[in-house]
Amino acid sequence: MNLLEVFIASLQNLKVNKVRSFLTMLGVIIGVTSVILLVSIGQGAKIYINEQFASLGTNLLIITPGKIETKGGPPLRTESVEKLTFEDSMALKRRAFLLKGVVPFVLGNSTVKYSNRSRSVIVAGVNNEYQWVRGFWVEIGSFVSDDDVEARRRVVVIGKKVVEELFGTSNPIAQMVKIGDVKFRVIGIMEKKGVSLGIDFDNVVFIPVKTAQDLFNTQSLFQIIVSVISEKELNNATDQIISVLKKRHNNKEDFTIVSQGAMLSTLDTILNVLTYVLGGIAGISLIVGGIGIMNIMLVSIKERTREIGIRKAVGAKKKDILIQFLIESITISTAGGIIGILLGIGGAAAAHKIFPALPTKVTPWAIIIAFVFSVSVGVFFGVYPAKKASELDTIESLRYE
């Protein structure tokens, strides 16, 4: 028996009941489309996050006050917390020689006013090293200098979006703006950076860190961001930071050092789990599609009982009948799978077009898995009806009306 001819015959059979065949296929189409679409969204998000982290620099360590348990359970702040101070950052700069740059960092929200316009912004208190530690540079004018920090000067470097909103086309350099109720002089404009990890860097204004402490009425730092001389030294640098800061904090390790890599791998894990869960849920609809195939095959066998009897009378073996109906169900599921893959790829592209913030990435393994799965659905849910067809009694089938 020639399998190709059986396949062609099965196509002809599917053509006879076009609408029914299509509706049967639809279950698989929807299943495969959603698997591809959801997995590609999950993978897109993962790649997007990876890129974002890479753009922030991979040799960064972030020191936050308080000990955060990162292993098991939700983050938990324990014991009394001694705050990180500007002096801590200075100590790191002096003693931790594996660090290339140290940025004492204060963060807050405020409004910036210029004449009658105002805008809500993120205010970041930094020192001069912030620029090259983060790879985010001033474009016009100058950035916050170490002098500005020591002298607690009220100077501000503003982001591109803030410039557009408050100044329009006029030159903001040397203009006075109000942050909260305090007047600041604009000394520079940052380059365009865009949104990264949910923060719109063009909507940030930078002021000297000590000025920021005054503005927000605090003695402590939000974070200390450090860059290590090379990625290989991340662990050694971490040890150095711990030893320097412990000495200053009564020998207590009441701070947490997070590397970009650690955060990235945590996020990676979360996104992978999310992808699998989404894919799995979509996979359930594939199984439902398979049940639809089984149902239709059983109906079809009932309708074609006579045909089965005739085929057996002229010499078809049980095996021939089994293969014939199995190929029909596999044809339905595979055709559905192929259409679903195409729709999934198209859908992923369309989703990215409609929502540019939603990155999608169609991975080959998702396509392969979806395809293999749809073929298997045809086999799995086709075997029972096909077996039933092959075991029909010849005489009774010939009499069947």
Partner: protein, 230 residues
């Protein structure tokens, strides 16, 4: 003297239903020589169709021995029986049993398909088989476009296409008018004479049985009369 094509020895067939057992055939024995033209007659429910199904290898006897061409077939498995149905036996049914969505030609090709014959050869053989029943230009018509007599000719062409030893016809004229019936029976007679193929026809119509060279009458599962002409 060659050995007979068919030897039936004390064939019994009983059907078991949940509460009752029905004995349909109660010990049928006869032999058929190659080239015979036999009619099996009898009233409804006499067991003639069951006998026919056993001879045709789509049913197996409960007891007894059936030797076809020197081989015992009553104990064969499905695969072996399918092979015999395919290569050695051609069926003709009362209600034609053509596949409605297939052309006449494709219907005739069907046994060749299961015999594993390549496509082109299949087509050639099916066409010559259709020609031998007088349907040269009807190959591409679907069964619904053919008359009853033509449908039965297609069925006969299908039965003949694998050059079987034996053609089994179960009430082949049951759904035909008298003119077509006569044509079909004449066709059987001609085939029997021309190709020496063995033909067994099951019928309750004496006019049809009259075409055969030997008539076996079955009543209540036993042979009542076995009569050869001349």
């Amino acid at each position: 003297m060659t050995s007979p094509l068919i030897i039936l020895d004390k064939i019994e067939r009983t059907f078991n239903f949940s509460k009752i057992t029905i004995e349909v055939l109660k010990g049928i024995s006869f032999t058929v020589k190659s080239g015979a033209f036999i009619a099996i007659t009898g009233p409804s429910g006499s067991g003639k169709s069951t006998l026919m199904n056993i001879i045709g290898c789509i049913d197996t006897p409960t007891k007894g021995s059936y030797i076809l061409e020197g081989t015992e077939v009553s104990k064969m498995d499905d695969e072996a029986l399918a092979f015999i149905r395919n290569k050695k036996i051609g069926f003709v049914f009362q209600n034609f049993n053509l596949l409605p969505r297939y052309s006449a030609l494709a219907n005739v090709e069907l046994p060749l398909f299961y015999a594993g014959i390549p496509r082109q050869l299949r087509k050639d053989k099916a066409e010559s088989s259709l020609a031998s029943v007088g349907l040269i230009n009807r190959g591409l018509h679907s069964p619904s476009e053919l008359s009853g007599g033509e449908k039965q000719r297609v069925a006969i062409a299908r039965a003949l296409v694998n050059n079987p030893l034996l053609i089994l016809a179960d009430e082949p004229t049951g759904n035909l008018d008298s003119k077509s019936s006569l044509e079909i029976m004449s066709l059987f007679q001609k085939l029997n004479i021309d190709t020496n193929v063995t033909i067994i026809v099951v019928t309750h119509d004496p006019a049809v049985a009259d075409f055969a060279k030997r008539v076996i009458t079955i009543v209540d599962g036993v042979i009542e009369l076995d009569r050869s002409k001349r």
